[in-house]
């Protein structure tokens, strides 16, 4: 029975809930400095992404490392373009 229990998935589920709660503190506690708030958000966001990738998507379980890296690089590039392009268009260059 033990090997049938989806340990990773339950861990991931609980982990993502906890990380969401941690991110929520940013608006629950008024008067937090902007720097601290952004730090909490960035760290919880990165941790959240790792939880999803490792515990739910089993990113370490593939033998095909090359396509894994190509996919991650493509994803990171598109993500960065979207984030920094938006900052450029909506904040910095406005």
């Amino acid at each position: 029975m033990k090997e049938l229990f989806p340990k990773e998935h339950v861990l991931g589920f609980v982990g993502s809930l906890l990380l969401t709660l941690a991110a929520l503190t940013v608006i629950m506690f008024k008067g937090m400095s902007n720097g601290l708030a952004m730090t909490i958000l960035l760290i919880t966001a990165a941790a959240q992404a790792l939880v999803q990738l490792i515990l739910f998507m089993h990113i370490g379980e593939t033998d095909d490392k090359k396509s894994l890296y190509v996919t991650i690089i493509y994803a990171v590039v598109v993500g960065l373009i979207t984030v920094f392009g938006t900052l450029l268009a909506m904040v910095w260059g406005y």
Binding site: V77, V78, G85, T86, L88, A89, M90, Y94
Partner: protein
């Protein structure tokens, strides 16, 4: 919302008539199915199917119906503006019609048509027996159908969205748009968008993991390549839409201020997020059409595709660039020269890989023995017409000049010149090309060609005048204009062109009936003497696609095998493992339809009940044991003998 408000749209005679015709049509379908005792057949063979070919056919079927819905919207708009000060539609009705025309044509016609053709063709081209996740594929289809249904329900119950298909804030916010119309927008797109995202993941997995032995990535047919890249774009672009729509729902139904004008909200952030998804969306619908043209041009020029590697590279570059250009949709927002300069440059860069593809197609045809079949005619017409669309696109890409063109009919003419040859001609070409593969007979060439000429001439007559009108300052989305402006005559020309296109589409559909009755049945499975693997199996294709999965040594293996007299489908039969049909996707999408419908009206009891029911389907699936079934060798032998023409 009172009962009276709920059915308020019905007070308009045209909408009432449309509503009644929907009910009459539905009764006719139900009565017909009952009379001919086809319910069981429909349920067993179609509604519960997980077969990629049947799901593809259902996608294309719904897409054709939506083409007519969107086409009627278009004809009404052109009729309204055909003469100055026309009173056919009032301003509110006109707003609703141009909004739903855009939404339906992009999301519920172009997308399903493309995805339908991918469903039919991609597994066959790579020698797979189905997609990687057949059940998920069925769910994708049903979620799309639920979204399409929701948007079409909106115009009789509660009111259509009316803030344009782009739904810019603050116009789309509750302050200026207090009705439920834009809630429908958010939920119809949300549900079908989730389905599309699942399609994206499904097809990436299928293409990466399920190719026939020996088929390296660089030996795949070009349509499969275009499908792969399209699905990568889908996977990266659609989450942005999902988030943007969720924020829209929060703003409209829960009083948040993400896109508000005050309290720290940013109204243009909606436009930004919309186009972060919206521009890649253009390439999502256009790249597969490029793939279709590549297949068709190579087949009917009787030559291999020129510049295979550069075709692939240019698509990869387009896919990356498609994520870097979105701000060119709102140059006039008021951001600085630097921002406009950056997005102007990236936009113009896209013309380079696209140009490479155009030249590759031209060089494929050079010295070829071109056969002028219906699909080839669409491909030939595409090249010059799409080039006009592309060149006007480069004109629009210049930010400073764009201040002149922005939101005029020039822009409308430009994107119709890109999307109609680039997508509609593409899917129509593919539809004629792959029809015999699915149904076992060809569509009539004479009718197909007359439909082609009506569509192609009608298209140019309808849309070329809009370039001139736009340069004269005719703004888009105006429901009427005064005679003094002088816009009348060209608008009338445009209306006549639209009517011609309408005739063309009616001929196209009549052709189905005519060919079904009169067309000779195919026996070879390869009516066009084509190159790629889908033509190696029988037409219509058996459930398991290939009795023996072919081994691939080179690009266009089937073509060379034909020339060398080899049979790549020969071999020892083994029993074949296939997925089981399931009714769960249809019911789950139905439940999600009701969930979204109640959400639109903020009826929370219904939302909770059907939300829980949706989760119930997920839980059911988690604990369900379904190992599929086997097709035994005896049955394969029997099927192969029957399809091979022996009795």
């Amino acid at each position: 919302m009172s009962f009276d408000e709920l059915f308020a749209p019905m007070k308009e005679p045209m909408i009432l008539a449309a509503g009644i015709s929907i009910i009459v049509g539905a009764i006719a379908v139900v009565a017909g199915l009952t009379y001919f005792k086809k319910w069981g057949w429909l349920y067993k063979n179609w509604l519960t199917t997980v077969d990629h070919k049947k799901i593809g056919v259902m996608y294309v079927f719904v897409a054709l119906i939506m083409l007519f819905r969107g086409g009627i919207d278009a004809l009404l708009m052109r009729a309204q503006t055909a003469i100055p000060e026309n009173g056919l539609l009032n301003s509110e009705h006109y707003n609703e019609i141009f909004t739903t025309h855009g939404l339906i044509m992009i999301l519920f016609m172009a997308m399903p048509f493309i995805i339908g053709l991918m469903n039919i063709v991609v597994p066959l081209q790579i020698g797979a027996r189905d997609v990687a996740f057949p059940r998920l594929n069925a769910l994708s289809f049903w979620l799309f159908a639920a979204g399409a249904g929701l948007l079409n329900v909106s115009f009789v119950i509660g009111g259509s969205p009316n803030a344009g298909w782009t739904a810019y804030f603050p116009l789309a916010g509750t302050e200026f748009n207090p009705g439920v119309g834009n809630n429908y927008y958010a939920w119809a797109l949300q549900i079908s968008g989730i389905g599309t995202l699942m399609t994206g993941i499904n097809f990436i997995t299928t293409i990466f993991k399920m190719r026939a032995p020996g088929m390296k990535l660089m030996k795949m047919p070009m349509f499969t390549w275009s499908a792969l890249i399209t699905n990568v774009i889908i996977t990266f672009a659609f989450p942005v839409l999902t988030v943007a729509l969720a924020l829209m729902t929060l703003d409209r139904q829960f009083g948040t201020k993400f896109f508000a004008m005050q309290d720290g909200g940013m109204d243009m952030m909606w436009a930004n997020l919309f186009w972060v998804w919206g521009h890649p969306e253009v390439y999502i619908v256009i790249l597969p059409a490029f793939g279709i043209y590549s297949e068709i041009i190579a087949t009917f020029a009787r030559k291999n595709l020129y510049g295979y590697k550069s075709m692939v590279m240019s698509m990869v570059i387009i896919s990356l660039l498609s994520f870097m250009v979105w701000a060119h949709h709102f140059y006039t927002m008021g951001h600085g020269v630097m921002v406009n300069g950056v997005f102007s440059t990236t936009t113009m860069l896209i013309a380079v890989p696209t140009g490479v593809k155009i030249f590759n197609w031209l060089l494929t045809m050079r010295h070829g023995k071109i056969q002028f079949t219906t699909p080839m005619l669409y491909a030939l017409a595409f090249i010059p017409i799409f080039t006009i669309g592309g060149v006007t696109g480069v004109m629009l890409a210049m930010a400073s000049a764009d201040y002149q063109y922005h939101n005029t009919m020039f822009l409308v003419a430009h994107f119709h010149y890109v999307l109609i040859p680039g997508v509609v001609f593409g899917v129509l070409a593919g539809y004629h090309y792959w029809w015999p593969k699915i149904f076992g007979f060809r569509l009539n060439e004479k009718l197909g060609k007359s439909a082609f000429w009506f569509i192609i001439l009608g298209f140019n007559i309808a849309f070329f005048p809009l370039f001139i009108l736009g340069l004269d300052g005719y703004a888009r989305r105006m429901y009427t204009y005064s005679a003094d402006t002088g816009y009348g005559p060209l608008n009338m020309v445009s209306f006549l062109g639209a009517l011609m296109m309408g005739v063309g589409f009616i001929l196209l559909c009549y052709n189905i009936y005519y060919s079904f009755r009169h067309s000779p049945r195919e026996t070879t499975g390869d009516p066009w003497d084509a190159r790629s693997l889908e033509w190696a199996t029988h037409s219509p294709v058996p459930e398991y696609n290939f009795a023996v999965v072919p081994k691939i040594n080179q690009l266009d293996e089937y073509w060379f095998a034909k020339k060398e007299g080899r049979d790549i489908t020969a071999g020892e039969y083994e029993r074949i493992h296939m997925p089981n049909n399931s009714s769960a996707p249809m019911w789950m999408a139905g439940v999600m339809f009701l969930f979204a419908f109640f959400f639109v009206f903020s009826v929370w009891a219904g939302v909770i009940v059907f939300g829980l029911a949706t989760l119930g389907f997920l839980a059911y699936r988690s604990f369900e044991k379904d190992d599929g079934h086997y097709i035994e060798v005896a049955e394969i032998v029997e099927t192969e003998r029957r399809l091979g023409g022996e009795q």
